[in-house]
C-alpha cells in the first residue's frame, strides 16, 4: 500500500461545497441554468470520485492535509473503502439530482433545495473521505445542518416538527461523538484511524461507557433502534429526491462511523487480554442489529404511507448492516464474512433504496398520492413504473440476479460462520431472526407494489401518465446497476469487497472462501424462496386478521421513552415558569391590597414607588433568579457539609 499525497480528495469535497454558492448565484439566470449547473457540478464530482477511485484501485492510499486549519488541521485519507463509497455517493446524488429537476419543477424555494442538496453532497463526501475523527466530525455536523434544509423543505407543520426532532437528535448525537473525540484526543494526542482501545483502557477509561458514547454518537444517524424515531418522521416529509439521498446515503455515515470505530479504532490483537471487549462489542452489535432489523420491518408492515414504509425499511436494512458489522467485530480476525456482508449491503442498499424512493416520487408526481389505502390499479396507467418497481423490489428482497441477493447471502453465511466458530445457540436464533426479517421485507415491499399497481382504482387515474423519458433513463441506469451487481455477484465481490477488507487483518482462509462464494448453489437459492414464502404467509395473515391486530400507541419507543423525556423536560421548565408567575401573582396581590389602603402617592420615575412588594412585582425574573440562587447555594453548602 503506497501512501500518496494528492489534492484530489480535497477537490472532491470542495467542488460541491463551494459549488453550492455557484448554484445559488446561477439561479438569477433562470431555473434551467440553475438545474444545469447543479447537475454539472454533481457530474463533475462523479468524475473526480471515479478518478480518485482509479488511483486508489491501483494500490494507493491518497492523503491530504490542510494543517493550517487551526490548531489541529484537516485530514483526508482515502483508502479503498472511502473511495468506493465516494463514487457511490456521487453517483446516486447525480441520479437523484437529475430526477429532482423534473420533480421539483412545481415546488417552492427550488434554489434553496438545490443549494442545500449540493452542499450536503460535499459534506457527506467529506465524512467518507475524512482522515481522522475530527475532520469527520466537522463534515458530519455540516451535513446535519445542511440536510435540515432538505427535511423541512415543505415548511408545513409536519415538516417543521419532523425537522426539529431530526435536528435535536442529530445535535445530541453529534455531542456524544464529540465527547468520544475529546477522550481519544486527550489520551492519544490525535484522532487518526488507528487502534486506540488499549491506550484508552490503560488511561483508566471505562470501555463500556466509551462503547455507549460511540453507539449514541453514530447510532442516531444510523437509525439504530431505539434512536431511530427521527427517521420515519424526517424522511417521508422531505421531497422524494431528498428522501432518497437521506435514506440511501446520509444514514450510511452512521454505519461508516461504526465501521471505522469498531474495525480500526476499537480493535485489539486477538491474543490481547482486552479481546473479550471486542467480542462483547460485536455481540452487542449483533443484537442491536437484530432488534433494529426486526423492529423496522414490523413497523414497515403496519404502516400505509409509501414513503414511511420505505423509511422504516431503511431502519430495517440498517439493522442488517449493523448485524453483519457485529458478526465481523465479534469474530475479530475470523470476521471477514461479517465485514464483507455489511460492506456489500451498504453499497446495495444505497442503490435500491434510492431507486425505491425515486419511484415513489415518480408515482407521487403523477397521482399526488402516496397512501397505499388510496392508491391502486395503476398498472394500466403506469406499466413501465410497475416494471421498474419490480426490479427495485427484486433488489431489496434479494431475488437471485439482483443486488440485494449478493449481500444477503454474505450476511447469512457470516452469521452461520459465527455459529460454527462459537457454537452459541443464541447465534442460531439470531440467524432465524435474520431469515424471518427477510420474509417481512418481501412482505412489505410486495404490499407496496400490489396495493399501488393492482387492485381496484380508488380514484380517477385518467390523467395519470407513465414515466417520462428522463425518468426512464434514470431508472434504466438503476436497473443496470442492480442487475450488474446481482448477475455478476462473484466478480463484484472480488472487485468491491475483497480490497475493502484490507482495513484490518483477516484470516486468509476466509478471504479465499469469499473469493468463491457458492452464489448459485441450490442451497443458497432456497433463501429467497423461503423469504417469499414467509411474505405470502404474512400478507395472507395480515389480510385475514390484520384488522384485529392494531398496534397500540403505547408500544412505540417514542411513546415509552422519548415523549416522557420530552414532557419531563418541558414540565420542568413549565414548573419553573409557573413558579415564577405564581410569585409574581402573589406580590401583585399584596401590592393591590397595600395600595387599596393608602392613597396613591406621586411616583418618581427613577425608582418607582419604593416598596419591597412593588419592587419585587416588577422583577419577577430577578426574584426568581434570587430564589434559585438561594436554593442552589443552600444545596452547595449542604453538599460541602455532608461530606
Amino acid at each position: 500500500m503506497v501512501t500518496q499525497s494528492s489534492i484530489i480528495p480535497l477537490l472532491v469535497v470542495a467542488l460541491p461545497l463551494l459549488g453550492a454558492g455557484v448554484v445559488a448565484y446561477s439561479a438569477r439566470w433562470g431555473s434551467a441554468v440553475r438545474a444545469g449547473v447543479a447537475n454539472l457540478l454533481t457530474f463533475g464530482t462523479v468524475l473526480l470520485t471515479v478518478w480518485q477511485f482509479l488511483l486508489v484501485q491501483s494500490g494507493r492510499v491518497l492523503v491530504y492535509t490542510l494543517d493550517w486549519y487551526v490548531g489541529f488541521g484537516l485530514y483526508w485519507r482515502v483508502d479503498f473503502l472511502s473511495a468506493v463509497f465516494a463514487v457511490i455517493v456521487a453517483l446516486v446524488w447525480l441520479l437523484s439530482t437529475l430526477f429532482a429537476v423534473e420533480y421539483m419543477a412545481h415546488e417552492h424555494q427550488q434554489t434553496r433545495f438545490f443549494v442545500a442538496s449540493i452542499f450536503t453532497l460535499g459534506s457527506t463526501l467529506g465524512v467518507f473521505l475524512a482522515g481522522d475523527l475530527l475532520s469527520l466530525f466537522l463534515f458530519f455536523e455540516l451535513m446535519t445542518f445542511a440536510a435540515y434544509l432538505l427535511v423541512i423543505h415543505e415548511e408545513n407543520a409536519d415538516a417543521l416538527r419532523a425537522g426539529n426532532v431530526y435536528l435535536f437528535m442529530s445535535v445530541i448525537g453529534g455531542l456524544f461523538l464529540l465527547g468520544s473525540i475529546f477522550f481519544i484526543q486527550h489520551t492519544v494526542g490525535n484522532t487518526a484511524y488507528a487502534p486506540v482501545l488499549e491506550q484508552l483502557v490503560a488511561a483508566g477509561l471505562n470501555p463500556w461507557w466509551l462503547f455507549v458514547v460511540v453507539l449514541l454518537g453514530f447510532g442516531v444517524k444510523a437509525g439504530m433502534l431505539p434512536l431511530h424515531i427521527w427517521l420515519p418522521k424526517a424522511h417521508p416529509v422531505a421531497p422524494a429526491p431528498a428522501s432518497a439521498l437521506l435514506s440511501a446515503l446520509m444514514i450510511k455515515t452512521g454505519a461508516y462511523g461504526f465501521l471505522r470505530f469498531f474495525y480500526v479504532l476499537f480493535t485489539v490483537a486477538p491474543d490481547s487480554r482486552l479481546f473479550f471487549l471486542q467480542e462483547a462489542f460485536g455481540y452487542a452489535f449483533i443484537w442491536i442489529g437484530a432488534i433494529t432489523m426486526l423492529g423496522g420491518a414490523l413497523m414497515a408492515l403496519i404502516h400505509t404511507p409509501m414513503k414511511r414504509i420505505l423509511a422504516y425499511s431503511s431502519i430495517s436494512q440498517m439493522g442488517y448492516i449493523l448485524f453483519s458489522l457485529g458478526v465481523g467485530v465479534m469474530l475479530g480476525p475470523d470476521g471477514a464474512w461479517g465485514l464483507a456482508g455489511a460492506w456489500m449491503h451498504m453499497i446495495n442498499h444505497a442503490f435500491f433504496k434510492s431507486f425505491l424512493f425515486l419511484l415513489a416520487g415518480a408515482v407521487y408526481l403523477q397521482t399526488g398520492e402516496l397512501d397505499l389505502t388510496k392508491l391502486g390499479g395503476l398498472k394500466r396507467h403506469m406499466p413501465v413504473a410497475l416494471g421498474f418497481f419490480l426490479v427495485a423490489a427484486g433488489g431489496i428482497t434479494g431475488v437471485p440476479g439482483f443486488n440485494g441477493y449478493v449481500s444477503k447471502i454474505l450476511i447469512h453465511e457470516g452469521i452461520l460462520h459465527a455459529f460454527e466458530l462459537k457454537g452459541w445457540s443464541s447465534l442460531l436464533w439470531l440467524e432465524r431472526v435474520f431469515v424471518f426479517t427477510g420474509g417481512l421485507t418481501a412482505a412489505y415491499i410486495s404490499k407496496i407494489w400490489i396495493k399501488t399497481f393492482f387492485g381496484k382504482p380508488k380514484q380517477d387515474w385518467s390523467q395519470v401518465q407513465d414515466l417520462s423519458a428522463g425518468q426512464r433513463g434514470i431508472f434504466g441506469v438503476y436497473t443496470f446497476i442492480l442487475l450488474g451487481i446481482g448477475l455478476a455477484a462473484q466478480t463484484r465481490v472480488n472487485q468491491l469487497t475483497l480490497p475493502a477488507l484490507g482495513i484490518t487483518e483477516f484470516n486468509p482462509l476466509d478471504l479465499e472462501h469469499l473469493g468463491q462464494v457458492p452464489f448459485w448453489s441450490l442451497h443458497e437459492l432456497q433463501g429467497p424462496l423461503l423469504s417469499y414464502g414467509i411474505a405470502g404467509a404474512t400478507l395472507l395473515f395480515q389480510a385475514l386478521f390484520g384488522r384485529y391486530f392494531t398496534v397500540p400507541r403505547w408500544l412505540s419507543v417514542e411513546f415509552l421513552v422519548y415523549q416522557p423525556l420530552y414532557r419531563g423536560a418541558r414540565g420542568f421548565f413549565n414548573l419553573l415558569g409557573a413558579w415564577g408567575l405564581g410569585i409574581q401573582a402573589t406580590f401583585a396581590r399584596l401590592n393591590t391590597l397595600r395600595k387599596a389602603k393608602q392613597k396613591p402617592k406621586r411616583t418618581r420615575t427613577w425608582s418607582g414607588t419604593w416598596s419591597l412588594a412593588n419592587w419585587l412585582t416588577n422583577r419577577t425574573n430577578l426574584l426568581f433568579d434570587t430564589v434559585v440562587i438561594v436554593i442552589v447555594l443552600l444545596a452547595v453548602v449542604v453538599l460541602i457539609f455532608v461530606r
Binding site: 493550517w68 435535536f168 416588577n618
Partner: protein, 486 residues
C-alpha cells in the same frame, strides 16, 4: 504616552461631543474619527510590545500614594484590540440605530467615555488604576443602560447601579487587603501573593464578587438580564460583547498576576470559581431557555457563555486558557453580532418577543443569515469559532482531570442549541403572523458591521494564519510564565 493617548482621546472626545453640540452629521463623523483614531493607536501597541516586550509605565506622582501605572503585556493588548475593534463596528452601527431616539449627543458622549474607561481598565498596571477605570466604566455605562429613560429602563439601571457599586466595594476591599498584606498592588508576572491567611481569602472572595458581578457570574448575574433588554441594542452589544469581559479580564489578572496560580490551586480557592462557573454555565442556559423575550434570552446566554470563560480560567491548564482567551474573542464577536441583529429586528418591527419574529428571515435574509451564523458558532458547530474554543476548553478540562467540566461543556452546547435554533427556525421557516411586508434589510451602515462580525465568526476558524488563535496561545503561554514577552 501611548496608553494615555489611547485612554484619554476617547474620553476627551466624548466630553467634546457634549460640549460642542455639533450638527448631527458632523458629530457622527467626529465620533467615528475618534473611535478610528483610538483603534489605530491600539494597533500601534503591537509594535510597541514586539519591540520592547512587556512595558510597565509608572506615574507615581499622579494620585499618590499608589500612583497610576499601565502594563502593556499580551493579555492587555489582546483584549484592548478586541474591545476597540468591536467598539468601532458597533459605533458604525449605532449612528443609524440611535437616530430616532432622544439625547443622541449624550449617548455618543458616554459611549466614547465608556470606551476610554474600558481601555483604561484593560491597560491598568496595578489594582488601584484598574479600580479607578473600572468604576468610571461602570458609571458611564449606566447612562447607556438608561438611555431610553422609561421607567423600566430606570429600574433596570438602578439595579445595575446598586450591584455595580456593591461589586466595586467588594473589589476595593480586595485591593486594600492586598495592599495591607504585601504593600504593593502592581501586577507582577507570576503573581506575588501566597499568603493563605483569612485576609487573603477575604481579598480573593472580594475579587470574585467584584469581577464576578461584572462578568455575570451565577449568583451575581441578576442585573444582566434586566439591563440588556432595556438598553439600546448597540449598548447591549457593548455590554455583553466587551464589558462583561472586563470581569473575566480582572479575574485573569487576579489569578495570574496577583496571586500565584499554583498557590490558588494548592489551597483550593480556585474551586470556588470552578463551581460558580459550572453553575453559571448550566443555570444561565436553563434560564435562557425559559425566556420569551429575545434580548433577555441573549442576555442569559451571555451569562452562560461567561461561564465558559470563567471555567476556562478556573481549570488552570494552559490548553484551557488558550480556549479561554479565544472564547473571549469569539464571544465578543458573536454576541455583539447577535445583539446588533436583534437590535435591527426590534427597531424595524417594534416587537420584542421571539414568537413575534416568525417569518422575518424572509424579509431580512442577510441579517438573519448573520444571526444564524453567530448562533451556530454559539452552539459550537464546526467550522465556526465557537467550536474551537469549546475544543480547547474541553481538552484543557481533561488535561487537569476534570472530565465533569468537559461534560458540562457538551451539555451546555445542547442547551445552546435548544434556545438558539428555535429563533432561527422561527425566523426562516414559520409563517408570518405579523405584517412584515414593509420590512427589509437595514441600511448599509447597520448591515455592514453585522456582516463583518458574522464573517469573523467563521473566518477565524478557517484561515491559514489564525491571528486570534496565535494571540490566544501567546497570551496563555505568557500567563503561565513562559513564551515570549515575559
Amino acid at each position: 504616552m501611548l496608553p494615555f493617548l489611547i485612554i484619554f482621546i476617547p474620553i476627551i472626545g466624548g466630553l467634546l461631543t457634549v460640549a460642542l453640540k455639533l450638527e448631527d452629521r458632523i458629530r457622527d463623523r467626529f465620533v467615528l474619527a475618534v473611535t478610528v483614531l483610538t483603534e489605530i493607536l491600539v494597533l500601534f501597541l503591537y509594535t510597541f510590545l514586539r519591540d520592547t516586550g512587556v512595558v510597565v509605565l509608572q506615574y507615581p506622582k499622579l494620585l499618590p500614594p499608589f500612583g497610576i501605572s499601565f502594563r502593556i503585556d499580551w493579555l492587555s493588548v489582546v483584549l484592548v484590540t478586541i474591545a476597540s475593534s468591536i467598539w468601532l463596528l458597533v459605533t458604525i452601527y449605532s449612528f443609524d440605530y440611535i437616530k430616532p431616539s432622544k439625547n443622541i449627543n449624550r449617548y455618543h458622549a458616554f459611549t466614547l467615555i465608556t470606551l476610554g474607561a474600558t481601555l483604561g481598565t484593560l491597560l491598568a498596571g496595578d489594582l488601584v488604576t484598574l479600580f479607578l477605570f473600572f468604576e468610571l466604566m461602570s458609571f458611564s455605562s449606566y447612562v447607556l443602560v438608561i438611555h431610553e429613560g422609561d421607567p423600566q429602563a430606570m429600574r433596570a439601571g438602578f439595579l445595575y447601579l446598586i450591584m455595580t457599586i456593591g461589586g466595586g466595594l467588594a473589589f476595593l476591599f480586595g485591593v486594600l487587603a492586598v495592599y495591607q498584606m504585601t504593600g504593593t498592588v502592581a501586577f507582577t508576572a507570576g503573581g506575588f501573593l501566597t499568603s493563605s491567611s483569612a485576609l487573603s481569602l477575604g481579598a480573593f472572595i472580594g475579587f470574585l464578587i467584584g469581577f464576578g458581578m461584572k462578568a455575570g457570574m451565577f449568583p451575581l448575574h441578576v442585573w444582566l438580564p434586566e439591563a440588556h433588554p432595556v438598553a439600546p441594542s448597540p449598548s447591549s452589544a457593548l455590554l455583553s460583547g466587551v464589558m462583561l469581559k472586563i470581569g473575566a479580564f480582572g479575574l485573569l489578572r487576579v489569578i495570574f498576576n496577583v496571586y500565584e496560580f499554583q498557590f490558588l490551586k494548592e489551597v483550593g480557592w480556585i474551586n470556588y470559581l470552578l463551581v460558580a462557573a459550572i453553575l453559571t454555565i448550566l443555570l444561565g442556559s436553563i434560564f435562557a431557555i425559559m425566556q420569551k423575550n429575545l434580548k433577555r434570552r441573549l442576555a442569559y446566554s451571555s451569562v452562560a457563555q461567561m461561564g465558559y470563560i470563567l471555567l476556562g480560567m478556573a481549570l488552570l491548564s494552559e490548553q484551557a486558557l488558550i480556549g479561554d482567551v479565544f472564547h473571549i474573542f469569539t464571544h465578543a464577536i458573536m454576541k455583539s453580532c447577535l445583539f446588533l441583529v436583534s437590535g435591527t429586528m426590534i427597531l424595524l418591527t417594534g416587537k420584542t418577543e421571539i414568537d413575534d419574529f416568525k417569518g422575518i428571515g424572509r424579509r431580512m435574509p442577510i441579517s438573519m443569515a448573520c444571526f444564524t451564523m453567530a448562533s451556530l458558532s454559539m452552539i459550537g458547530i464546526p467550522p465556526f469559532n465557537g467550536f474551537l474554543s469549546k475544543w480547547f476548553l474541553g481538552l484543557g478540562a481533561l488535561e487537569v482531570n476534570q472530565p465533569l467540566s468537559a461534560i458540562v461543556l457538551l451539555v451546555s452546547s445542547l442547551l445552546n442549541a435548544v434556545y438558539y435554533l428555535p429563533i432561527v427556525i422561527n425566523a426562516f421557516f414559520k409563517q408570518e403572523e405579523h405584517d412584515f411586508s414593509q420590512i427589509s434589510d437595514p441600511s448599509p451602515k447597520m448591515l455592514i458591521p453585522v456582516v463583518v462580525l458574522a464573517i469573523a465568526t467563521v473566518f477565524f476558524d478557517i484561515i491559514p494564519v489564525n491571528v486570534l488563535l496565535n494571540l490566544s496561545e501567546v497570551t496563555a503561554a505568557a500567563l503561565f510564565g513562559g513564551g515570549p514577552g515575559l
